[in-house]
């Protein structure tokens, strides 16, 4: 057991604010490692101390491993919480923490590597009897052609080092495969430092459903239900919910068990998410990837389970193990989350940085808002455009959607454009209200509204 009394937070924005909140409840001191652009941010004010680790550009601040580790040891923090993005899934960072006697609040470096390499993750899934999308590694153009014929078009060429939609190419005709392969490989080499690619069948109509897991690092794993994140635009999630609407009971059980099996095989430590693609035409699910971190959309799970996932992350990291059994997890009701971004849906979702001159976030029964934005906050162009997450919880989906809709109407932002009107329109949409839309929904929705 490591007594964690002071945590350095190596992140920014709403997730930094979120982590500080739980630390306060636990009586843990927080030190925020902030870039120069974030010195006056809300989390910088909420943290017990803020240390400026570098200039605005992430490469020299939020991705600066030496500066962050040095800062953590200098302020005598016992642990580092990496949040999501930035260094959260860099094994070199987790390893640097270990080497300097700091507790990394997350999985082991080996686990990060196992799931970061998408081909290895596929192999681990197969080994744990978790279905994967038909496909596999290709070493040469000949191998690719043979595998391509076997899978059939359309298919995807994916980068081994990619993930979350990055490093993918769709091939509709097999004769285009050699060219796409070459292009994908050279792009992957440039973007991820790893030119390896693999093929996967392209699932035309699929839903993105993921399983939240917690592992003690010694082989015990529980799940906290699933989340449906099919409302996405170009692989960027916009609305997430739990439970996934309309899943057949057996399919849900199999999916949750598959997520647990995958994490068990790795003896996974901490909070993680196993992502699946639900093939609507075949009524089957396939492993996509595992995210070895806290997810942006974790609050919907917290809303229905009542479990503070950040507190569990800290408990596991301190060596307390899993404090919950599977039967302790009893999800109640339905929760949905809208990601409010500083972007303009009327201009192709272009980012809209600037100064927030007025802001009002909704409050009320069943409403939670995770944010770092207040009047006078500046949306810097160097970082992502996430301003807030508005979460609604209610006994059933219809009431939860209505609650969220009212909350989105009550939210008010001036100074920057936001996607609030987009959320309002989606929540009013009949197809969305019916539940269970596929990942092509947003594209069709945008097209329909442009035409109308």
């Amino acid at each position: 057991m490591t007594a964690i009394r002071r945590i350095l937070i190596a992140n920014r924005g709403e997730i930094a604010t979120r982590i500080i909140r739980t630390c306060r409840e636990l009586g843990i001191e927080t030190v925020l490692a902030a870039s120069e652009a974030d010195r006056d941010s809300v989390p910088a004010r909420l943290a017990d101390r803020t240390v400026c680790i570098g200039p605005a550009r992430s490469a020299q601040s939020y991705l600066n491993i030496p500066a962050i580790v040095h800062a953590a040891t200098s302020v005598a923090a016992q642990a580092i919480h990496p949040g999501y993005g930035f260094l959260s899934e860099r094994s070199a960072f987790a390893r640097a923490c270990e080497e300097h006697g700091l507790v990394f609040i997350g999985p082991t470096p080996e686990q990060i590597e196992a799931v970061g390499d998408k081909l290895r993750a596929r192999a681990e899934a197969e080994a744990s009897n978790v279905p994967v999308v038909p496909g596999g590694a290709v070493g040469s153009a000949e191998e690719a052609a043979a595998l391509g014929r076997q899978i059939g078009a359309p298919l995807l060429v994916k980068a081994v080092g990619g993930g979350g939609g990055r490093g993918m190419k769709r091939v509709d005709r097999l004769e285009d495969l050699p060219h796409a392969l070459e292009l994908a490989s050279s792009e992957a080499g440039a973007a991820f430092g790893d030119a390896r690619v693999y093929l996967e069948r392209f699932v035309a109509r699929g839903r993105h459903v993921e399983v939240q897991v917690l592992g003690d690092g010694a082989g015990r794993v529980i799940h906290l239900g699933e989340r449906d994140c099919s409302v996405q635009r170009r692989y960027q999630k916009l609305i997430e919910e739990t439970p996934a609407p309309g899943l057949p009971r057996r399919l849900r059980r199999d999916l949750l068990e598959a997520g647990v099996r995958f994490a068990e095989r790795l003896a996974y430590r901490g909070a993680g998410t196993v992502e699946f693609l639900l093939d609507l035409e075949r009524n089957a699910f396939f492993f996509l990837e595992m995210n070895a971190r806290i997810q942006v959309e974790h609050p919907v799970t917290e809303a229905v389970t009542g479990v503070d996932l950040v507190a569990e992350q800290i408990a596991i990291a301190s060596g307390a193990g899993l404090r919950l059994t599977q039967s302790d997890v009893r999800p109640r009701g339905c929760a949905l989350e809208c990601r409010v971004n500083a972007e303009d849906p009327s201009r192709g979702f272009q980012p809209s940085p600037g100064l927030v001159t007025e802001v009002a976030w909704p409050t009320g029964a069943g409403i939670r808002v995770d944010t770092h934005i207040e009047r006078g906050s500046r949306i810097a162009p160097f970082y992502d455009s996430l301003m807030a997450k508005v979460i609604a919880h209610a006994p059933d989906r219809v009431s939860a959607v209505a609650r969220l809709r009212a909350a989105i109407t009550a939210a008010h932002v001036e100074g920057v454009a936001t996607n609030l009107p987009f959320h309002a329109a989606v929540l009013d949409d009949a197809e969305f209200q019916a539940g269970g839309v596929d990942t092509g929904f947003v594209a069709r929705f945008v097209e329909r509204h442009r035409a109308g």
């Binding site: 605005a56 040095h70 302020v75 070199a92």
Partner: protein, 169 residues
């Protein structure tokens, strides 16, 4: 089209609130050029906060690769306001990176500089250690040391004022 004094004031306010250092506006027969106080003219606003420091103090930091470099990040827009000296002839030397500051080349050795010392641009004023990597920090300007703010062996943050130097010829 013409601009009234009120228009210019409004544009100035917009620049103040933006994250940009400079603004060029060209209308029919009118050119307006605004620059945030003290910002070095283009082409390298990014370099402004540390431009006076030798490149080695930055180059020696092993920056993790892989992050997309954003062009022209206007760092200065959010520079820390640490009660700068009112005398314009006195300049702050900021820490070019976070680390542990050392005033001397090794324990027990005389410090690189003392208050009152004359320094040239290239004069070493201290060392910042980050994870066992020593980065020399140079004065960057000619003058006389008026104040040493950073304590020996203490953590200095990025941009924190290390010493103050009174400019001379």
């Amino acid at each position: 089209m013409t601009l009234t004094a009120k228009d210019v004031a409004e544009i100035t306010r917009l620049l103040e609130e933006s994250s940009f250092d400079e603004l060029y506006l060209e209308l029919d027969g009118l050119k307006l050029s605004l620059r945030r106080g003290g910002a070095a003219p283009n082409p390298s606003p990014t370099e402004a906060p540390v431009a006076s420091l030798p490149s080695e103090s930055r180059a020696s930091v092993p920056g993790p690769a892989g992050a997309p470099a954003r062009a022209a990040a206007p760092d200065r827009a959010t520079a820390p306001s640490r009660a700068p000296p009112t005398d314009p002839a006195i300049q702050d030397v900021p820490a070019p990176l976070l680390g542990t500051f050392y005033r001397a080349p090794k324990p027990g050795a005389p410090p690189f500089i003392e208050v009152g010392a004359r320094v040239e641009e290239e004069t070493i004023i201290g060392i910042i250690e980050v994870m066992k990597l020593m980065n020399t920090v140079r004065a960057g300007i000619r003058g006389r040391v008026t104040e040493i703010l950073a304590r020996d062996g203490a953590l200095v943050e990025y941009g924190e004022t290390l010493v103050r130097i009174g400019k001379t010829g």
